[in-house]
């Protein structure tokens, strides 16, 4: 078609009619090579590219050469392409800057290549760069109300005292009448979910009053009561007392577990933890019971006893005896800043392109995506001036693996759309011209034998972390054609325990942890009454709105959140894509808790990819064809169809190049969707 080309020397944008702008339509000697191509990469949106070299002669060449000689490496120029329309008006369709790094000239002509400065190529160049943002610059006006998970703390105690020569018994001696003696207990193993809430300590053999320093084994540091689940096994005997003839077996002392405060009241909790120590007898108990420890109260093990006559009494406790405290606690709520995904996207695009006029949207998000928020690890930790570190590539990986959303980059916009909408099951273009050179080939790189879904495996210092299941899960697809592995891993974390541990470390400002640059996604809904975002949890109570799938197999399902980001929901979000090469994912292995059942399905179950017939996105095969139909459709969302050799081929555009300077047959490369025989 007729086309005008304008060269602008000295500026990166073309202003037709300005000084420095030349009509070079008759000075391009390689018009036949100028082409326009549409390419899809990574099964996301189609991008238009105009990578051409321009060969200029005559006055255009002379002007460009003399400009370059004067300006050298600071030269800048651009080319605009304006094809004619049916009203014989030339309309600009494309503009690009010229890359002086490719400039060369002879006595008769010069050549220079175009830089595709389209938004897509700029973004591609910077996609992997990690940017950091001050959270307070991009945060949402409303904070997240983080009301924590239930966490488990525990301590195992063994009895102290002197060990006998066999090491099998602890010997505790008490001396005086009416002596209040705290029993020596040592913590062998413990884990405290929150050090600000409670303290497990060793107790010494201290005679004095109840709960004098060094006598308690547990202290509740909060202003609310804590329930401690005690399980114990004690075997022992009371010995070494001379008996005189008038003795009957006498109660020597009482071994008691007491709860209270020093100087305040104390109580025996519960009543039956009193062991009567009688001379010459042994005692044994194995029990489990809860005790209530009030605000700021302590727990200790005491004997209040008397000797008959100042003669020391020894009690031997079997070394296998133990006491164990198991405590479930939930921290008081904190608030932290959140960032909306769309806002983060806008910031990333601005960092990459330097432009603030690019429209960034997430189109038609489902409820779960609408209620997804981004939390920087530093925000969770309560660090002042928290930063969020991430890259565009990470953002895209999260959007595609968790929600099945991919970017479509236009001239001035970046839109995230559900991948399915790019592969619409409707005809966009029927190749109507004549065609030749048809070839169909299976694309093995689109066939996967293994799929890894989820998030990176994390290691926690705490035993509570064993409850977590939101790590990577491996499935086999049943396909043996290749050994390719499809990774659907989100770099943004969704593990609730990971987030909980970060919140627990608030106040520890000087420590640096490995998770500090991590980014989390959080499932929460805006609550207008409190002007906050509140975590979405499953509810079995019919009067409360159910905001999340059910979960079991974790410590406390009622406080668990982020269930909706489980790997199996990520599979469901990408159903139609996976259906292209498999119908069933067979569970192979997963990191983390295997007992978890989410939404009625166990973590270790196989997943059936249930899609309607004919709606799987595509077949793993490509069609190449050359055609004389060079009409460019307005959009590439639907499929392109061609009939040849008794079959109807429908496929989505992968790549096509159109001759721009001179009309040429178009060579289409389609990702096939389906092949059906045509009726004769």
């Amino acid at each position: 078609m007729l086309c005008k080309y304008y060269l602008q020397i000295g500026s990166a944008t073309v202003t037709i009619g300005s000084e420095g702008c030349m009509d070079v339509s008759r000075m391009l000697s390689n018009i036949g090579d100028i082409s326009l191509s549409y390419t899809r990469s990574d099964l996301s949106g189609v991008v238009r590219k105009f990578g051409s070299e321009f060969r200029l002669i005559g006055p255009a060449m002379e002007a460009l050469v003399s400009y370059f000689i004067q300006n050298g490496t600071s030269s800048v120029a651009a080319m605009a392409v304006c094809p004619i329309n049916d009203n014989w008006v030339y309309e600009k369709v494309w503009e690009c800057t010229l890359d002086f790094g490719t400039f060369q000239y002879t006595l008769h002509d010069c050549s220079i290549s175009a830089i595709d400065n389209s938004l897509a190529s700029v973004i591609k160049a910077h996609a992997s760069t990690k940017y950091q943002y001050l959270v307070s610059d991009i945060k949402d006006p409303y904070p997240l109300y983080y009301d924590h998970l239930t966490m488990k703390s525990f301590a195992d105690y063994v009895f102290g005292g002197e060990l006998d020569e066999y090491g099998g018994t602890s010997v505790i001696t008490f001396q005086r009448t009416g002596e209040v003696l705290s029993w020596p207990l040592f913590v062998t193993k413990s884990e405290v979910a929150n050090r600000k809430m409670m303290l497990f300590s060793d107790s010494g053999q201290v005679s004095g009053s109840l709960f004098s320093p060094g006598t308690e084994i547990f202290e509740n540091l909060t202003d609310e009561g804590i329930t401690v689940n005690v399980s114990l096994q004690i075997t022992g005997s009371c010995e070494n007392l001379p008996q005189d003839s008038s003795d009957s077996r006498e109660t020597v002392s009482r071994l008691q577990m007491r709860v209270g405060t020093s100087g305040g009241s104390s109580r025996i909790e519960p009543v039956f933890t009193v062991y009567t120590l009688t001379l010459g007898t042994s005692f044994a108990d194995e029990a489990e019971f809860p005790i209530y420890v009030g605000p700021r109260e302590k727990v200790g093990l005491f004997t209040i006893g008397w000797t008959k006559d100042d003669t020391p009494v020894t009690v031997n406790v079997n070394a296998e005896s133990y006491i164990r405290f198991d405590i479930l606690t939930r921290n008081t709520a904190d608030t932290c800043d959140i960032v909306r995904p769309q806002r983060l996207l806008q910031a990333l695009v601005q960092s990459m392109t330097g432009r603030d006029d690019v429209t960034c949207t997430i189109d038609n998000p489902p409820t779960v995506l609408d209620q997804t928020h981004i939390v920087a690890a530093e925000s969770a930790r309560g660090v002042e001036n928290a930063y969020l570190h991430t890259s565009y590539k990470d953002f895209c990986a999260m959007m595609s693996s968790v929600f099945g959303y991919v970017p479509v980059i236009g001239t001035d916009s970046v839109r995230f759309v559900k991948r399915d909408t790019l592969f619409v099951n409707s005809l966009r273009k029927q190749l109507s011209g004549k065609h030749a050179d048809l070839s169909v080939s299976v694309d093995a790189s689109m066939i996967y034998s293994k799929v890894v879904v989820g998030y990176e495996n994390q290691e926690y210092d705490s035993v509570n972390g064993r409850d977590e299941w939101r790590f990577s899960t491996e499935y086999n697809t049943g396909v043996t054609m290749t050994d390719n592995e499809l990774e659907m891993i989100s770099p943004y974390r969704a593990d609730a325990y990971g987030l909980e541990f970060l919140f627990m470390r608030r106040g520890e400002d000087t420590t640096d942890s490995g998770s500090d640059e991590d980014v989390f996604i959080v499932h929460a809904m805006y609550n207008g009454r409190f002007a906050q975002y509140r975590l979405n949890r499953h509810s079995t109570d019919s009067s409360v709105i159910d905001l999340a799938p059910s979960v079991s197999g974790v410590l406390d399902p009622a406080t668990m959140f982020n269930v909706v980001y489980s790997p199996r929901y990520m599979v469901a979000a990408n159903n139609k894509y996976l259906a292209s090469f498999t119908r069933r994912l067979v569970f192979a292995s997963s990191g983390g808790n295997h007992d978890v059942v989410v939404g009625g399905m166990s973590v270790g179950d196989d997943i059936v990819i249930a899609v309607e017939l004919g709606t799987s996105m595509f077949m793993p095969a490509h069609l190449n064809i050359k055609t004389s139909d060079i009409e460019i459709p307005e959009a590439w969302d639907g499929y392109v169809a061609v009939e040849a050799g008794g079959y109807r081929y429908e496929g989505y555009l992968d790549d096509v190049t159109f001759g721009f300077g001179k009309d040429k047959p178009a060579s289409y490369d389609l990702v096939l969707k389906q092949i059906t025989p045509t009726e004769v």
Binding site: M1, I84, N85, D86, W88, V89, S432
Partner: protein
């Protein structure tokens, strides 16, 4: 500036060759033919007037000229002539005078001509002819002297074969090709500008000859095969190929009820 579109089937002072004797051939039209005259104005402020003059009586009647303003600079002036009474005419456009042409119903004379219809798929290929006038496809018609002579057929084949192990031949695919030579000019030949118009027509997107669609055969151009002695009159041969398909847009953009639809024998692939 105003100029007559070179696709117009009338010839306005086509040659500057003042030597020698002109061709005897007189351009023919049937009364049913539609003669489309297009005049293109570029930055034009003058008026365009077209008149049809009877060559015998010199009676002149003005033709109604329709206008389509294409953009700030270009304006199209056009008119379609049809249903003329038998006679000899010429057309004037402002000061230009066309070659004389004859409108006849004589079956014998018309049988020695072939009606060629031509158009482009859009206006974007050239700026010397408008084929889509404000969204409507416009076909030109030209009645050319000559036609397809039986001795002008050529044959070809597009096939692929290979020799098998047992020295037999296997054919992978095969398609036959027929190319026909269109002979332009009868016994008295025709002027050289007829060959120029034929060459131009062969570069159009849609060419219908005698109701069938044709395409130029490769890079073949009108070849002068014979010259009429003592006159500037020649016989040309143009090789072309018949094609059996019609592009969707050939059909879609023709206005409803247009006489050309009937002529086309529409067949959609």
């Amino acid at each position: 500036m105003i100029f007559v579109s070179p696709f117009t089937p009338l010839f306005f002072q086509p040659s500057t060759d003042v030597f020698g004797a002109d061709s005897h051939y007189c351009q023919l039209f049937a009364p049913t033919d539609i003669i489309v005259i297009e005049v293109i104005g570029v930055e034009n402020t003058d008026s365009v007037s077209l008149s049809l003059v009877n060559a015998r009586t010199r009676a002149s009647s003005a033709l109604s000229v329709e206008t389509w303003v294409m953009n700030e600079s270009y304006t199209l002036y056009y008119c379609s002539l049809t249903g003329l009474a038998e006679g000899m005419y010429y057309v004037t456009m402002n000061n230009l005078v066309s070659e004389t042409f004859c409108v006849t119903t004589d079956a014998f004379q018309l049988s020695r001509t072939t009606l060629i219809e031509y158009s482009m798929r859009d206006n974007r290929q050239r700026q010397d002819g408008v084929f889509v006038i404000n969204g409507t496809q416009q076909y030109f018609q030209w009645r050319a002297p000559g036609g397809f002579k039986d001795d002008g057929w050529q044959f070809g084949v597009d096939n692929e074969q290979f020799d098998t192990l047992d020295t037999q031949v296997a054919e992978v695919f095969s398609g036959d090709i027929v190319q026909k030579q269109f002979t332009l000019g009868n016994a008295e030949g025709c002027p050289v500008w007829y060959a120029a118009l034929l060459n131009r027509i062969m570069s159009c997107s849609f060419i219908i000859i005698g109701g069938d669609r044709y395409v130029r055969a490769g890079t073949a151009t009108p070849e002068q095969t014979q010259s009429i002695v003592g006159r500037k009159s020649f016989i040309y041969k143009q090789l072309m190929r018949k094609v059996d398909y019609y592009d969707d847009d050939m059909v879609v953009r023709i206005a409803e009820g247009d006489i050309r639809t009937a002529l086309l024998n529409v067949r959609v692939v």
